[in-house]
């Protein structure tokens, strides 16, 4: 049965869906957000339980294929060395994120002008800066002002603790004269907006039982709902429908019982992610849009960017207390962020220090790698390793390439029979060289910090957290999917606000920029309400 029409229908309740919903709520329009997952109960998060390390491999696994919940959709990732990491539910992937919250740099919006690769963004850092600041105020960002790697910016919470591990690694950077800084972290280090302060549980990436981590179910959504936005959970949108004039007129979705429903809407905003959004657009074929909705350019699903990650880990001869503190947020270094062509590649990367592993992960990792033997030597070797390792992940900028794609799998479908996405992705030569450079520098700094041995790997396989570029923004309809304020070139009442509209990926985590863009698009819509579809 058709539901009452709504003014704005948002698809996806994650990082960007929450931000755009909150911002548009002050228009007093009727806004509904459909989310295929449900609300997550913090009492279910692994850190409530003794077997928390084991639970991270199960229903709170970052990979949807491994997690395999009814609310997940499968992804064919066989043709990609980097596997998808996400979460489907209110809060989206912020439920399982590490809460790293760096902004892009001014140079990240001018890649072609500066480095003669990829494309410039149609907007710049200055345009987004007020939205970064607004997003920081809504989120609560722990950090320290004065970072020489960024233009001046305010922070609103004290930085996360260094811990013994962070101080040890900072010493290595100082020894080499390299940049480091406490990570901007979307973590309440003091009580903030009804959230209690971080108590250093450790594994942020399996959900924050304390509620200190800024997942959008506890940041934007309570405010948006209080302001009148309705969130409908367990609603999986299969198709955005269009009328004879080529305007979006609503969606077809499956409810919790698997019943197909129709929802009419005046405006549709897609807030999936760099995989979910092109999947939905490609599944929304019609006589007017036979190649998928908003796809006249042919670029929906193309230019997929991940961030190729490396890891480097060092073994130290003293306990580092690495199981304490936000697992993914400690300090970072942007010494090698800006382009230096003498390194053999363009663009750059951020080194992000990670804290140590828990007792089970230490044993499993050690046994599987052969570092910790079975038998009489097990205990002695384990003692040499446990709580004595520290290291980093290194997040490298990816560049857009047409052959890296999200398409529809011809066979694989989700539990509602909707075609699933298929990923085809290869690392560029630029990425390979950047990874090599980053691993060498990572080893160098860990040795300078006092590591007795180091190990590394690249690219990290289970690290497809950031999916970008598959419906990119631009002023040229022939070379982009949405315009410079997020509206589809083809469909005047269709907007996209997630990472798929990125033109380039930068060498930092994208969520801060995704949300700033969502706020910017919302603001652009509000300023044009009288002639939004012109």
């Amino acid at each position: 049965m058709p539901q009452d029409p709504v003014d704005v229908l948002i698809i996806g309740a994650g990082a960007s869906g929450a931000a755009v919903a909150w911002s548009l709520a002050d228009t007093r329009m009727k806004i509904v957000c459909m989310e295929q997952g449900g609300w997550v109960n913090p009492a279910d998060y692994p850190t409530n339980y003794r077997d928390w390390e084991l639970q991270q491999l199960g229903k709170f696994n970052i990979n949807p294929n491994a997690r395999d919940l009814e609310t997940d959709y499968p992804v064919n990732e066989d043709e990609s060395p980097i596997k998808i990491a996400n979460f489907n539910g209110v809060g989206g992937s912020t439920i399982l994120w590490a809460a790293h919250f760096p902004r892009f740099h001014p140079s990240d919006f001018r890649v072609k002008s500066l480095d003669r690769v990829a494309d410039d963004w149609p907007i710049d850092y200055e345009t987004l800066e007020p939205y970064y600041a607004e997003n920081d105020r809504m989120t609560g960002v722990a950090g320290l002002e004065g970072d020489p790697a960024y233009p001046p910016k305010a922070v609103n919470l004290p930085p996360v603790s260094l811990g013994k591990l962070g101080e040890k690694l900072a010493g290595g950077f100082n020894e080499l004269g390299w940049h480091w800084w406490p990570s901007d972290s979307a973590i309440a280090t003091e009580p903030f907006d009804g959230r209690d302060k971080c108590v250093n549980l450790g594994p942020c990436i399996s959900g924050c039982s304390q509620g200190a981590k800024a997942s959008t179910d506890i940041t934007y959504w309570p405010h948006a709902i209080r302001n009148g936005v309705e969130v409908r959970t367990r609603c999986r949108v299969s198709e955005i429908t269009v009328n004879a004039k080529g305007m979006a007129d609503g969606v077809i979705y499956f409810d919790e019982n698997g019943e197909e429903q129709k929802q009419q809407a005046e405006v549709v905003i897609v807030a999936g992610n760099g995989v979910g959004t092109p999947r939905l657009l490609l599944n929304s074929r019609s006589s007017l849009f036979p190649d998928g909705l908003a796809n006249t350019s042919g670029l929906v699903g193309k230019n997929l960017m991940f961030h190729p990650y490396a890891y480097v880990e060092g073994l130290f001869n003293e306990p580092l207390g690495g199981h304490k503190g936000p697992g993914g947020c400690c300090i970072w270094s942007q010494e090698f962020y800006e382009t230096d062509r003498s390194r053999g590649y363009v663009r750059g990367y951020t080194m992000e220090m990670t804290r140590g592993r828990g007792p089970i992960a230490t044993a499993l990792g050690g046994v599987m790698s052969g570092r910790i033997p079975w038998g009489d030597e097990h205990h002695g070797t384990y003692q040499q390793v446990f709580d004595k390792s520290a290291g980093m992940v290194i997040i490298c900028e990816d560049l857009p390439e047409l052959h890296n794609t999200v398409t529809l799998d011809p066979v694989l479908v989700d539990s509602n029979g909707i075609p699933a996405p298929k990923i085809n992705y290869t690392l560029s030569k630029n990425s390979v060289k950047m990874l090599e450079h980053s691993v060498a520098r990572g080893k160098e700094v860990l040795m300078a910090a006092g590591a007795s041995e180091v190990s590394s790997g690249a690219p990290l396989g289970m690290a497809g957290w950031h999916m970008m570029g598959t419906a990119r923004m631009g002023t040229d309809p022939g070379n982009s999917v949405v315009n410079e304020w997020g509206r589809s070139h083809d469909v005047k009442n269709l907007f996209i606000v997630d990472g798929s509209i990125f033109v380039t990926s930068a060498g930092v985590n994208p969520t801060s920029t995704i949300q700033a863009l969502a706020l910017y698009v919302a603001d652009s819509m509000k300023k044009r309400l009288a002639n939004l579809f012109d």
Binding site: D124, H179, W180, P359, I360, L364
Partner: protein, 154 residues
């Protein structure tokens, strides 16, 4: 309806004996640490392995077959040295059951109260207690603060 709670194990006594030997070979006791075959730990291992009982059962059968082929004796009747040789070959050949056994032995062992306390850890989940962290020494940042900006102006 019966109100008896079943405690039946999917493993036979012989299978349990074999598994106890295997986990003890993997993580034996020393002066401080218990063996993975310690009853408190072993019972947890068995409960986790129950879901993979069929694979584990096949694995144990293959282990015995290997033992009979090489020594004309069942695995349980071998001496320690022969067991070690057999298990080494077996672990290299039988991926899935060996993987299951390793994961659940490690997980059950390093969740055990005595093991955690021997490692100097509190035997509890991270929440709600959390962990105290020492104050940070921000003077370490002095040399970085002294640098000029390192981002590119546009």
């Amino acid at each position: 309806m019966s109100d008896i709670v079943s405690t039946d194990s999917p493993f036979t006594q012989e299978q349990k004996q074999t598994l106890a030997i295997l986990v003890d070979m993997m993580i034996p006791a020393n002066d401080v640490m218990p063996s993975a075959a310690d009853p408190d730990i072993f019972s947890v291992i068995l409960s986790y392995l129950a879901d993979a009982a069929e694979d584990i059962g096949k694995g144990i059968a293959a282990l015995n077959a290997l033992s009979l082929e090489r020594y004309k004796k069942s695995f349980l009747t071998l001496d320690d040295e022969s067991r070690g040789a057999i298990v080494s070959d077996f672990m290299a050949q039988y991926g899935e059951p060996v993987m299951q056994l390793q994961i659940h032995t490690v997980s059950s062992y390093y969740m055990n109260d005595r093991v955690l306390e021997a490692l100097g850890l509190e035997a509890r989940p991270p929440f709600p207690g959390g962990y105290e962290m020492e104050p940070s020494d921000w003077s370490l940042l002095d040399p970085v603060r002294a640098r000029e900006k390192i981002y590119r102006e546009i």
